[in-house]
Symmetry: C2
Subunit: 216 residues, 2 copies
C-alpha cells in the first residue's frame, strides 16, 4: 500500500467514503485485517473499479491478491475527512429535528460532538436535551467566540435561518450543516451543506405516485 499526498478528490468520491469506513470497521470487528475492493463493492452495490478509483484518489492502492490493509485504510479515510480528531459543533434550534439529532448516537462514528444546543424558547433554556445543555440565542456569539467552535448544525425554523447565519458567521462559524429549506447566503470561505429531508420525501412521494399510476 502506498500513500501519497492526495490531489483533488471529487465530491461524489468524498460522499462515498463514510460507507467504505463502515464496511472496514465491520470487517475489523470480525478480525479481518485485509479487505478487497470487490468485497467493499459487493456490500455497497458499487462496481469494484469505482472503489479502487475512489481510494486511488486518496493516494491509496491495495496490494494484488491481498487487498487493502483495513487499519491503514481506516486511518487514511479518517485523516482525509478530518475525522481523526473529535470536532465540536453547536446545534442551533432544539425543536423536533434538533432534539432528534442531539440524541443521535451515530455521530460518534464520525467524531462529531455536539457540545451544546441553542434555542429561543425560554422554557427550554437552562434544560438539557439528551445530556446537551440548552442556551438562549443571546449567548450564541459569545460562546462561539470563546470556545472557537467552527461548525453549526442549523435545525431552526426557516424564517430565522438567514438572520442567525449572519450572526454566527460573524462570530466565527466556518461550516454550517443546514437542515432548513433556506438557501443560505454566506461569505466566501464559509461552507454550507444542506440536508433537505422534506425535498427528499417530496421526490419519493411524487415518483411513487407516478409509478403506481403506471400500474393501472
Amino acid at each position: 500500500m502506498s500513500q501519497d499526498k492526495p490531489v483533488s478528490v471529487s465530491h461524489p468520491t468524498i460522499r462515498r467514503l463514510p460507507a467504505y469506513l463502515n464496511i472496514l470497521r465491520k470487517a475489523q470487528d470480525e478480525n479481518k485485517t485485509h479487505i478487497s475492493s470487490t468485497f467493499i463493492a459487493d456490500k455497497l452495490g458499487y462496481e469494484p473499479i469505482q472503489v479502487r478509483k475512489d481510494l486511488a484518489g486518496l493516494g491509496i492502492t491495495g496490494q494484488a491478491g491481498v487487498g487493502f490493509d483495513a487499519a491503514e485504510l481506516i486511518d487514511a479515510i479518517l485523516g482525509f475527512l478530518g475525522w481523526d480528531n473529535a470536532t465540536d459543533a453547536y446545534l442551533i434550534g432544539a425543536g423536533n429535528l434538533g432534539s432528534a439529532l442531539a440524541g443521535y448516537k451515530g455521530f460518534k462514528d464520525y467524531n462529531l460532538n455536539i457540545l451544546a444546543c441553542f434555542d429561543s424558547d425560554l422554557r427550554k433554556v437552562g434544560t438539557e436535551i439528551h445530556g446537551k445543555k440548552v442556551f438562549g440565542m443571546e449567548r450564541l456569539a459569545e460562546l462561539i467566540e470563546r470556545t472557537g467552535v467552527n461548525i453549526a448544525i442549523l435545525t431552526l425554523p426557516d424564517k430565522a435561518a438567514q438572520e442567525i447565519t449572519d450572526k454566527i458567521v460573524e462570530a466565527g462559524i466556518r461550516a454550517i450543516w443546514n437542515f432548513t429549506t433556506v438557501k443560505l447566503d454566506v461569505p466566501d470561505g464559509v461552507i454550507v451543506e444542506r440536508v433537505d429531508l422534506a425535498a427528499s420525501l417530496a421526490l419519493l412521494s411524487r415518483r411513487t405516485a407516478e409509478a403506481m399510476k403506471n400500474d393501472k
Copy 2:
C-alpha cells in the same frame, strides 16, 4: 390563476415544492391571502423567475399585480405530491436514527404517518417508541400484506438493508426512504430515495478542512 394538467416536472422542481409550501402556510398563518413569486423567492434565496417556472410546471400561474392565491397554491402542491391524504409508512430499524425519526413531529406537515416500527432486537419488540408500537422483523411481510402500506423508512444497519429490502418488496412495499449507506437493488417500479447523512457530513468536513487550510 389557471390550473391545467401538469406535464413532466423536473426533480429539482419537485425538491423545491416543500419549501414553497412552508412559505405559503406561514403567509396564511399571517392572514395573507395572496403571495408573489418575488416574496417566495426572497424568503428562500432563489430568483423569482425560478419560482414562476417551477409553479408553471405544475400548471399554476399567478395573477399580475396580485400574485398567487395562497390557499389554491397550497392545495395544488399538496395534490401534486400526493400529500393531500395521509400516507402510512412503516419504519424499519428502531435504533438511534430510527427512534429519532419516529419521534419527529415535522412529518405531519407532509401528511406522513409512521404507523409502526420494526426491529430485530427482542428487548424492543412489544414496547412503544414515541407512541409507535415496535414489532419483530418476522411480522414484517404479514403486516405489509395485511395493511397494504406502500412506504418503508429504512433505518436499519447496512448489513441487513438488502435482505430486508428483498423481503418487503416481495410483500408489497413500493417506495423506500433509505437512510442506510447501501445502494439498494430493487425491481423496476419500486422507488428508492436515499438520505445519506454521513455522506453530507463527510463533504462538509472535507470542504471545511480545505477552506481553513487556505486561510493559513
